[in-house]
């Protein structure tokens, strides 16, 4: 495969700031439609940034499958309509990484000089259809012709990786479960947003209903309604709107084969390795400089592999690394302080923006009980499909 990003070896001066964030409550939000939650997140972000809609030059909306989940396409126009503006508004799609892709598009637009202030959002309404149809819809993020055809599911794909990781490195189900236990604990400190803000135990994970062996129900992130939005602006304008801007300092994106069985490795995501290396280079930092990180724990094994792919620990020891408490708040590198996809919820198109929002709150010192003391540099790791798209964004106070 041809790789990308070598050109950023000397670092890039990004000059983009985040001046506002807005999140809806994640969960089964039966009383609200897709447009309701998208508008709610947008308005919250605009208020948080202390700007008016008239200040915004463009919008990028991350959404995976509104056509399938809600029968609604044309999300860019939908959001512009709801917000009541006539500026350029574009939907961006990269499966579960759609949110982070929207953020990258916002950054690109500002760096290209096309916009000064950009709203980037993500929204997904997933509970209006049955679990079977949601499962089928989500498989659109994998290879429909060669995986979905055989009855493959997303838990199934990650189960194939989990089984191989356990076989090759001796990773245990208890170790994987410890990621879910930690994320549920973090969610108890994020009650305003998190879908499942309650404690669970390793035993509960191991003994919950089997979904795709060895993964049980509590190894899996849920089906969620939710939206998130952030306001980006030119670095030199940031202080005009906001006393505590956070800066985007690095962004990497990489692709891999759509189908899992086509990959060289089944125990890690090469796109995550590639994207993170680009992002580190652009930001001019190393992995040791990262103080807090939101990773894409769509399944417990995904958080294990993320810790390895991002370089928090060596290949193969991710399970033990998490079980030993290194990723708890107060640990070596706190991971998923929001509760992650597992406990905060995973409205697929919104997830990347929710991750960015959590990092912004941490870097501002606004994360309340789950605050990582003195956090200066934060990172998001957002995966589309079984790893065919990966985006890593780095932020600095």
């Amino acid at each position: 495969m041809l790789s990308t990003g070598a050109k950023f070896a000397k670092g890039v001066d990004m000059r983009v700031a985040v001046i506002g964030v807005g999140l809806t409550k994640f969960g089964e939000v039966w009383t609200k439609s897709l447009r309701d939650i998208a508008l709610e997140a947008g308005v919250k972000a605009i208020s948080d940034a202390n700007i008016s809609a008239a200040d915004i030059d463009a919008m990028f909306i991350g959404n995976m499958s509104a056509g399938r989940f809600s029968g609604q396409e044309h999300l860019g126009a939908l959001v512009a309509d709801q917000v009541g503006v006539s500026i350029p508004s574009t939907r961006v799609e990269g499966a579960c990484a759609s949110g982070s892709l929207a953020l990258r598009e916002g950054v690109s637009s500002i760096m290209a000089g096309l916009s000064d202030v950009v709203l980037v959002g993500g929204a997904e309404k997933m509970t209006d259809i049955s679990t079977e149809y949601a499962t089928t819809g989500l498989m659109g993020a994998a290879d429909e012709e060669w995986e979905g055809f055989h009855g493959m599911t997303f838990p199934g794909l990650y189960a194939l990786m989990a089984r191989k990781h356990m076989h090759d490195f001796g990773t245990t189900h208890e170790q994987m479960a410890s990621a879910a236990v930690k994320n549920h604990h973090n969610a108890t400190m994020n009650k305003d947003v998190a879908q499942y803000p309650f404690e669970i135990t390793v035993d509960k994970v191991l003994n919950s209903a089997m979904i795709a062996s060895p993964l049980t129900l509590l190894d899996c992130s849920p089906i969620t309604d939710g939206a998130a939005a952030i306001i980006l602006c030119r670095e030199d304008l940031a202080k005009k709107y906001c006393d505590t801007p956070v800066y985007v300092t690095g962004s990497g994106q990489a692709s891999d084969t759509l189908a899992l069985h086509d990959r060289k490795s089944l125990t890690g995501l090469q796109a995550a390795v590639d994207a993170s290396r680009v992002a580190y280079k652009m930001a001019g930092i190393g992995v040791k400089d990262v103080d807090v990180c939101e990773v894409h724990d769509c399944f417990t094994i995904a958080e294990v592999m993320a810790c390895e792919d991002l370089g928090f620990c060596k290949k193969g020891v991710g399970g033990k690394f998490i079980e030993d408490g290194n990723t708890q708040i107060g640990g070596k590198i706190p991971v998923n302080t929001s509760g992650g996809l597992k406990a905060c919820g995973h409205p697929v198109g919104a997830t990347g923006i929710k991750q960015a929002s959590e990092i912004v709150l941490q870097l501002r010192g606004d994360a309340g009980k789950r605050q990582v003391n003195g956090a200066e540099i934060g990172m998001t790791h957002n995966v589309g499909g079984s790893g065919a798209t990966c985006v890593v964004n780095i932020f600095r106070r």
Partner: protein, 132 residues
């Protein structure tokens, strides 16, 4: 539109780059390593292989409810063949495992929509006798 892939799906026919000797299934028209310098030809792969990793799916997608739970595996095909994904059938739970030798078998995969068009393709089953 799966009829476009019947030849590949029924016979495990993919493509092969003669320059770097890599097999592709599903078929690729461009070799990711050799790019335009590669020489892609059609290739029938071995119908025998070994399970690389597997899972048993209990929460199926729409259309697969009747068959659940069912086993799915990634199988490395013999003679330096590609990895192929498919269901594993006619296999006891205790037998299913990493390294199990399997062969392809032509089966019904699912029924399509309300019209009930039956989709066929390859699944895997434990090798009953090694074809020497």
């Amino acid at each position: 539109m799966l009829w476009r892939r019947f030849r590949n799906k029924y016979h495990l026919i993919g493509t092969y780059c003669e320059k770097c000797k890599t097999g592709f299934y599903p078929p690729r028209e461009v070799c990711p390593e050799c790019r335009r310098g590669g020489k892609i030809v059609e290739k029938q792969f071995s119908n025998y292989g070994e399970i690389v990793t597997y899972t048993v799916v209990s929460a199926p997608p729409a259309g697969f409810e009747k068959g659940a739970p069912y086993a799915l595996a990634i199988v490395k095909m013999d003679d330096n063949g590609p990895n192929v994904v498919g269901q594993v059938v006619d296999c006891d739970d205790e037998k299913l495992g990493m390294g199990l030798r399997v062969e392809t078998t032509f089966r019904k995969i699912y029924e399509d929509g309300k019209e009930g068009i039956v989709q066929y393709g390859l699944k895997f089953m434990p090798i009953t006798h090694e074809n020497l």
